[in-house]
């Protein structure tokens, strides 16, 4: 079995475990390449079906074509889409860059708090998230099944042991488990898989008329574009094999302080 298939089969196994173990399961879908691969893997695991709702946390600062793309795929693939928004903060205007919020504060309210509210409102006790270990060093420490307490906090110093594909599936009431089926994939693996599966992917990743593309998708004010001529999946793969620039280099919120991202994640950020 080639290594891409190994990655794929492992993810399917994890997703099926999650579906069996959690009565109220949901999957986060950011419209980006990772969570779209995750969605594809769900269809593999459940033989063409997606037997749980997809949650999209909408900050309203997303790049506009992402929303159009989201709605089209949801229609075509018959997805049960749940959209979460922090309307209170959005109405108060305390966001980045025009309000008084820093980037990290803005992420905290528009993404993290919005997510927390969706989870509470729907009572989800398992949430599938498409984070990968190679994205960012604190994500490298993650587990496939990662518990969050009532306040969504991640107790990173005391994580459950995980061995032989036996995961933590018993937990206290009120807490929930994040399930990370893509943890063992790299950015390059994601693109290799998109190529192999001939999967649809949002065109923002491809080079535009100005020779620019997005490498990582987020909110418009905090996500940079890179100079690139890569306009096909194959060209992106070639480009990634030669680059030494980290993937999240264009994500400004990570850089506000040395442990900005760790703090966000401990508090429940994806």
């Amino acid at each position: 079995m080639d290594y891409l298939s190994k990655l794929e089969q492992q993810s399917i196994y994890i997703m099926r475990e999650a579906f069996n173990k959690f009565e109220n399961l949901a999957m986060l879908w950011s419209i980006g390449k990772d969570s779209t691969v995750l969605l594809w893997l769900a269809r593999k695991a459940f033989l063409g079906h997606v037997p749980f709702p997809l949650v999209h946390v909408d900050t309203t600062y997303k790049i506009p074509s992402m929303i159009e793309y989201r709605d089209r795929i949801a229609r075509e693939w018959k997805l049960d889409l749940v959209v979460g928004k922090n309307t209170e903060v959005l109405e108060s205007g305390k966001t980045f860059p025009n309000g008084k919020a820093t980037r990290v504060e803005c992420c905290g309210t528009l993404k993290k708090d919005a997510l927390k509210k969706v989870l509470e409102d729907h009572g989800y006790n398992g949430v599938i998230v498409g984070v990968r270990r190679d994205e960012e060093p604190t994500r490298a420490k993650e587990r496939y099944f990662s518990p969050r307490d009532k306040n969504m906090e991640w107790n990173v110093e005391d994580q459950p042991p995980e061995l032989w594909d036996q995961f933590k599936t018993d937990f206290e009431k009120g807490s929930h488990i994040r399930i990370h089926p893509l943890l063992h994939w790299t950015e390059l693996n994601i693109w290799e898989y998109i190529e192999r599966e001939n999967m649809p992917i949002i065109p923002l990743y491809f080079s535009n008329a100005n020779g620019e593309r997005y490498r990582s998708l987020g909110c418009a004010p905090c996500t940079g574009i890179i100079k690139s001529k890569a306009s096909t999946v194959r060209e992106i793969i070639e480009e990634l094999r030669n680059t030494k620039t980290p993937e999240r280099a264009g994500r400004a919120q990570d850089k506000e302080s040395e442990d900005a991202f760790e703090k966000l994640r401990r508090d429940g950020y994806m």
């Binding site: 079995m1 080639d2 290594y3 298939s5 190994k6 089969q9 399917i12 196994y13 099926r16 475990e17 579906f19 069996n20 269809r43 593999k44 695991a45 459940f46 033989l47 063409g48 079906h49 270990r133 190679d134 060093p137 604190t138 490298a140 420490k141 587990r143 990173v156 110093e157 994580q159 459950p160 042991p161 995980e162 061995l163 032989w164 036996q166 995961f167 933590k168 018993d170 937990f171 206290e172 063992h184 790299t186 290799e192 599966e197 070639e238 094999r241 030669n242 680059t243 030494k244 620039t245 980290p246 280099a249 040395e258 442990d259 760790e262």
Partner: protein
């Protein structure tokens, strides 16, 4: 330090980058864990390995240097992996992390594991996912506690490819003598736990010696560099040639079809195969193999997550293990295992836990603990008999009993159905591998299957009965040659106990053989079955709170030990009725020895069949010299002592 270009120089880095940053598609991926004692330089090594293979992301080195400068601390390579603030503050690795790099040969996933004893569960998490391991030892400090413990655990976790890096050679003046002595000491340890190391490499991770290229500082070392060694490790092959094991993960009902979903753990499954679902005997035939957006094939092999439909609909749930009927797993309620414990609370006898094996989940408890081992010193941890448990970070050999039958294999035969984890409350707290033993294959031996009944406790418990009776149930098991005095002692003991107001009852060889066991002869097999039945009956008496006295020759040690293992620890009192053969033959109350000598009785113990004397009997009665009264008094004294230890008060 000598004058040659060190691998940290920019010039060197550039040339390395050219070697490694060519465009190619990796053909395979290998997962490697880095283990060893705390502060022996694991994270530093990983940082250096990345630097020297040109795998660091742009600006990463500069960023870490800047952070160190701002914090006013010296730059550490370890900070590349130690991403958590608390890790940087304490300069130790707390949790396992993973990071990727490529050589010409393939892509590597490097798993950095913490070396501090406190974080052993994180080390296990990292190592359990690896296919090979690099174990670091500080040349200055030498072999330490976690060096040994990690070596032992790697073996238990199933990792067979291990290379040892003797680090910080610069602090020992690159001394070959020092390297040789560490290699000798640690190799001896590894071999004693069954590990054959691939090689020992002297390195200085901080400087990059012998990592990507040979070190000029150690011209005496002619072996491979670390990078050579990595490329020499093999990617674990999937067990496609082994017997089929297809544990059912879930049952889906899509498009009005019932689909059994799961991953094939070993072997190959084909359309048309007749499958049996273990535990149990249900069977059906594979109608289709289901996949989505993949080429349709009529077979699937180890590693594939698939769905299947069946020709005849049978009720199958998650946990069942599908196999071909003649090569199925064991289907039993007890097995022998080697286990490591990570839980905060010890793993205790007398409590129930959840066992997870493949997709099965079942209640279990410890039946008996044979040995608790300190995995660093390999010494047996001595504990009093009445406080048997396995503490945090300890390893044990034990027998586990499950509430319902479990489908399992011996770990040495099939890995993924030969290992399990134990859940204590909400936490995964230990893991184990199933050891070889004389497991009966299904239906050939009723011993283990009928033991399900063990768990059907009524509302009246053993302590209730003990309180009512004034004593708990025991088996007083008299063993010895024919004519040694077993029956006389048994009858006298029963009378004494009766007079003392205790509930006692004798099972005697003759009365049992005339009734319950009238279908058995005296072949070794029948003798074994005879003892097994007596044991089962005696066990029921013990459950009923009775002191059950048995008087059987019971010549085989193994059979007596089997009965001992069936009941709670301390309740089986083995009494060796120890009279010399000549004395017994001389007494010959029933005239049996004479007949045996005349060859009129076949397989007579002591004459034409063996007798294995006990090696650990609770009581040894020299009935060649002692009277029956003396013997009974000894047993009564012993029983009195036991009752106090059990703290049963009326």
């Amino acid at each position: 330090m000598n004058g040659t270009a060190r691998s940290g120089d920019p010039a060197h880095r550039d040339s390395v980058n050219k070697i490694f940053m060519q465009t190619y598609a990796p053909s395979e991926q290998l997962k490697i864990v880095i283990v060893g004692h705390v502060d022996h330089g694991k994270s530093t090594f990983v940082g250096r390995l990345f630097n020297d293979t040109g795998s660091l992301p742009e600006g990463k080195l500069e960023q870490l240097q800047k952070i160190a400068e701002r914090r006013g601390v010296p730059f550490e390579w370890a900070n590349l992996m130690d991403a958590l603030q608390s890790e940087r503050d304490q300069n130790i690795t707390i949790d396992t992390a993973q990071i990727w790099f490529q050589t010409k040969k393939r892509q590597y996933v490097i798993i950095d594991a913490p070396g501090h004893k406190e974080f052993l569960k994180n080390m296990v998490t990292g190592a359990a996912n690896a296919e090979a391991a690099l174990l670091l030892i500080d040349a200055n400090e030498g072999v330490q506690e976690q060096s040994r413990r990690h070596g032992y655990l790697l073996n238990l976790l199933g990792i067979r490819q291990i290379a040892v890096l003797v680090n910080k050679m610069d602090l020992q003046d690159y001394s070959q003598e020092r390297f040789d002595s560490i290699e000798a000491e640690y190799r001896k340890f590894l071999v004693s736990v069954g590990v054959v190391p691939k090689c020992f490499i002297p390195i200085a991770a901080k400087m990059g010696d012998n990592i990507a290229s040979h070190s000029a500082a150690m011209p005496w070392y002619k072996g491979p560099t670390v990078l050579d060694t990595l490329d020499d490790f093999k990617v674990a092959a999937l067990p496609t040639d082994q017997p089929l094991r297809f544990p059912i993960q879930d049952v889906y009902r899509f498009d009005e079809r019932r689909i059994l979903a799961g991953r094939i753990e070993s072997g190959t499954l084909r359309v048309g195969d007749r499958l049996t679902f273990f535990p149990g005997t249900k069977s059906s035939t594979v109608k289709t193999i289901e996949r989505w957006n993949a080429p349709s094939r009529d077979e699937a092999s180890a590693g594939e997550s698939i769905g299947i439909t069946l020709t005849e609909q049978i009720f199958v749930e998650r946990g069942a293990v599908a196999a071909l009927e003649n090569s199925g797993p064991f289907d039993l309620v007890r097995f022998k295992a080697r286990l490591f414990w990570l839980g905060r609370q010890p793993f205790r006898k007398g409590r129930s836990y959840k066992l997870k094996l493949a997709t099965q989940e079942v209640e279990c408890e410890i039946e008996s603990i044979h040995r608790v081992i300190d995995s660093s010193t390999l010494e047996t941890v001595s504990r009093k008999e009445n406080e048997m448990f396995i503490g945090r970070n300890e390893v044990a050999e034990l027998v586990i009993r499950t509430k319902r039958p479990v489908a399992f294999d011996v770990h040495a035969d099939i890995v993924s159905t030969g290992r399990f984890v134990i859940v204590d409350g909400l936490e995964v707290s230990g893991g184990g591998i199933i050891a070889e033993d004389n497991y009966p294959k299904r239906n050939t031996d009723p011993t283990t299957r009928s033991e399900n009944i063990f768990w059907s406790h009524g509302k009246v418990t053993a302590p209730h009965r003990a309180r009512r009776n004034g004593h708990p149930g025991y088996i007083v098991w008299l063993t010895g040659l024919s004519g040694s005095g077993k029956s006389s002692i048994a009858m006298e003991l029963e009378r004494e106990l009766f007079n003392m107001g205790k509930n006692a009852y004798v099972l005697d060889g003759d009365n049992i053989r005339h009734g319950l066991n009238s279908d058995l002869a005296f072949s070794p097999k029948d003798r074994r079955e005879n003892i097994r039945r007596v044991g089962e009956v005696a066990k029921l008496f013990v459950d009923a709170g009775v002191i059950c006295i048995t008087a059987f020759i019971s010549p085989y040690r193994e059979d007596r030990d089997m009965v001992r293992s069936m009941i709670r620890e301390g309740a089986f009192i083995e009494v060796f009725v120890n009279a010399p053969l000549e004395v017994c033959e001389q007494r010959d109350v029933k005239g049996l020895y004479a007949k045996a000598r005349a060859n009129q009785i076949k397989e007579f113990t002591g004459i034409s069949a063996p007798y294995e004397p006990p090696t650990n009997a609770e009581i040894d009665l020299k009935t060649g010299e002692q009277t029956v009264t003396e013997s009974v008094t000894r047993i009564l004294e012993f029983l009195h002592l036991r009752a106090e230890e059990d703290e049963i008060s009326i």
